[in-house]
């Protein structure tokens, strides 16, 4: 299975420490613009920079496949809520016929939702990867719950939604 992952979700997956496990369930694709964003984040002095550096290593090792997308392939998707990174990820889904676009950016997801649906692309958040790892038996439900609770602390209003869904899917049916 192939997935295109934008910067926000890559950082979330890295933050939850399941980057290596993700390669057991999916081929991970990114664009050169996402890589550029990661390089910028790696240059900051904050908690995200180490994760960004780790992801860049995985790109260098070929574990994450990076594609160059031409401006004209994605510029029409850029808007107030969608930056070049997210727009290029949608274009990559289209050009490589990838079914899943993983983004944790609520603004971008909302803005790209309609066009993605028209193109048969499913938008998911990083949780989908985590739940797939649970389904594959690579991590347990309680691992997933712990990782999600850690991630929720890093989130803005989205944390309110995730908090309720963690209770519903990972506390009531925990394996």
């Amino acid at each position: 299975m192939k997935i295109v992952v934008d910067t926000s979700s890559l950082l979330s997956i890295g933050f939850m420490e399941v980057l290596d496990e993700t390669f057991d369930i999916a081929e991970v694709y990114i664009t050169s613009i996402v890589l550029k964003e990661l390089k910028e984040i790696a240059g900051y002095d904050d908690e995200k920079s180490d994760t960004a550096k780790r992801i860049m290593e995985l790109v260098k090792d070929g574990k994450i496949k990076c594609f160059h997308i031409k401006d004209e392939q994605f510029s029409e998707y850029i808007s107030r809520n969608v930056d070049a990174g997210e727009a290029s990820c949608l274009a990559l889904c289209i050009s490589e016929t990838v079914q899943f676009l993983i983004t944790d950016d609520a603004d971008a997801a909302y803005s790209l939702g309609r066009i993605a649906m028209q193109r048969g692309i499913k938008i998911r958040i990083c949780v989908a990867v985590l739940m797939e790892l649970v389904k594959a038996g690579i991590i347990t439900g309680s691992d997933a719950k712990e990782k999600m609770n850690k991630l929720i602390q890093q989130r803005g209003w989205e944390g309110g939604v995730l908090e309720v869904l963690v209770r519903k899917y990972l506390e009531e049916n925990v394996s």
């Binding site: 299975m1 997935i3 369930i25 999916a26 899943f100 609520a106 603004d107 997801a109 909302y110 939702g113 499913k122 938008i123 998911r124 958040i125 990083c126 949780v127 989908a128 990867v129 739940m131 797939e132 649970v134 389904k135 803005g156 209003w157 989205e158 944390g159 309110g160 939604v161 995730l162 908090e163 309720v164 869904l165 519903k168 899917y169 990972l170």
Partner: protein, 95 residues
């Protein structure tokens, strides 16, 4: 202890900042400090309100119309969409 923050801004905004500083008889640093403080405080308060509303909506304790009353139509649509894709992500994974 105060920290020093350096940032770059375009010429047009810097000219407006100079004009505002002149009219308010304050330094540029004072204007930027006030603006950042006000913006950050407002944004954090807004996130808390959005978070509570998003949580109640996801729990089914708020209707979409009530969410619109609190957040406005566009923000409410965004929260509802995020709730939907999150729910699908939890329920189906990558299926």
């Amino acid at each position: 202890m105060n920290e020093i923050l350096t940032f770059r801004e375009d010429k047009e905004t810097i000219e407006k900042l100079n004009e505002l500083a002149k009219r308010k008889m304050k330094s540029r640093s004072e204007i930027v400090r006030e603006a950042v403080k006000e913006y950050v405080t407002h944004k954090l308060e807004l996130i808390e309100i959005q978070k509570l509303a998003a949580k109640r909506y996801t729990e089914g304790k708020l209707s979409f119309d009530e969410l619109v009353d609190i957040l406005g139509y566009e923000e409410a649509k965004k929260v509802a969409y995020y709730k939907d894709i999150s729910e699908i992500s939890f329920a189906q994974g990558l299926a």
